[in-house]
Amino acid sequence: MFALEIKNLSYSYPDRTPALEEINLKIKARKKTAILGTNGSGKTTLIYHINGIIPAREGSVTVLGLPVCKENLQRVRRAVGLLFDSPDNQMFSTTVSGDIAFGPRNLKLDPVIIDQKVHEAMRKVTIEDLADRPPYCLSLGQKKRAAIAGLLAMEPQILACDEPFSGLDPIVAGQFRDILDQLKVKGATLIYSTHDVNLAYAWADEVVIMKSGRVLAFSGFELLRNEALLQQASLPLPVLAQLFKDRAEKPRTVAEAAKVLDLQPQVRQAKNF
């Protein structure tokens, strides 16, 4: 079962900048798919197509079997939650809690349940103390956390996150990854863009490699061991892929690598990859 199918998708911005060319992708449900690519390779534009923020003009996008078109937009958007790359672009209410409640309110949920969801979401990213602050009076990372809470409160089936960890401090980023892993266990699909090849190597099931608006390759995380491919995409090899290139063991996380090398058996909570 595919969560997302993209066929022959091309897109140019109104000023004619080409952004996507002939994208074909089938993204598996209940998996973590990382999108990698240099600046301007089209990651954000692709993510915008997933819930019809940019409507597909050439080609088609299908989410959970539903074609993304005007008639299905509401259902698609209910299924797909989007996290924007800049939290400034995402928040507009006068208080953090009001902003988080915005999505659930649009779903016309009961006020008591909305309140619960909002508090639960704030607790998860530890911003309870920011509830009544205006979103533009926060630090960048606090804004990002608030934006994440807004996404979590909607409990979408598919989470499409554009650079979800940038700006977060490492501990919070680790907690957020744990939350996402739990959601995945419960059946959610995660699609995220990132510049961190090490993160993708350790924490993605599938990877999409983009270059100049095209998909260069799309497969399991092992793709990130392919030096020639990454070079073509102007991306570096993940550190662990590089270090263990000539060895049989292929650890993906630092903790695994430490074990292999017998460096330090009790590596606890290796929040860094």
Binding site: Y48, N51, I53, Q74, R77, R78, G81, L82, F84, D88, N89, Q90, M91, F92, S93, T94, F102, G103, R105, N106, L107, K108, P111, D129, L130, A131, D132, R133, Y136, G150, M154
Partner: protein, 249 residues
Amino acid sequence: MGDNHHTHQLEQHSSYRNAVQPWEPRTKLVAGIIFVFGVISINDLRLLAGALVFAVLFALWTGLAVGQLIKKLLVLAPFLALMSLPLVFSAGIPPAPDRVILASLIILKALTAMTFTLFVFTNQPIEEMLEAMEHLRVPAAITTTIYLAYRYGFLFIHEMQTTVRALKSRLFNAQISRYSLGIYGELSGGLFIKSINRSETVYRAMAARSFQGSIPIGAPRQIAAADWFKAAVPPLYIISLIIIEQVVL
């Protein structure tokens, strides 16, 4: 961090709530509009003075401090000066008494109406006013436009502030010269376009969170007997003033 501030805000909030929250917003809005229209149709200085006292009492009851009220009303000062000074003095000195009376009427009416407007709208979240309007059958296109305009307006103000910061960090000196005038032109254009873009991204973010073009509103609150009573007082008061003016004086 931020805890002090947080509790401070909460305290402030709850004290407002105690005073005024119980008044249901629809009846408050309608009572307010009737009162304000009533005020401008009175043309007796003594009666207007009575209306002003009434409005001030209401505003203070909202939880508005005297200093705050005066500060807000001072915004009117230049405007009232522009309206009244020429009116009083343009027909020669010493001014004719009828002109002094007309100017005083304008000033009293303006102060009274503005004070009462403050009472209706301060310490009430904009969402509540909009919900009240929707429940009063104002078309959703209008309330949604108000809601979005409010947000975009502050976004724009915020954008202006960040731009000023960016300018300073790159050594821009505010001064009047041909060079700076050119920059101002470019800046205001850039700011405008940037805001348009920002508001487009924000609209995208709203759409991404299932926004369907109209603000989600809750069911209208029950209008209690106390609300009807409160809503009756200002209109009855102003109507009795009008009757006194028409019949008694």
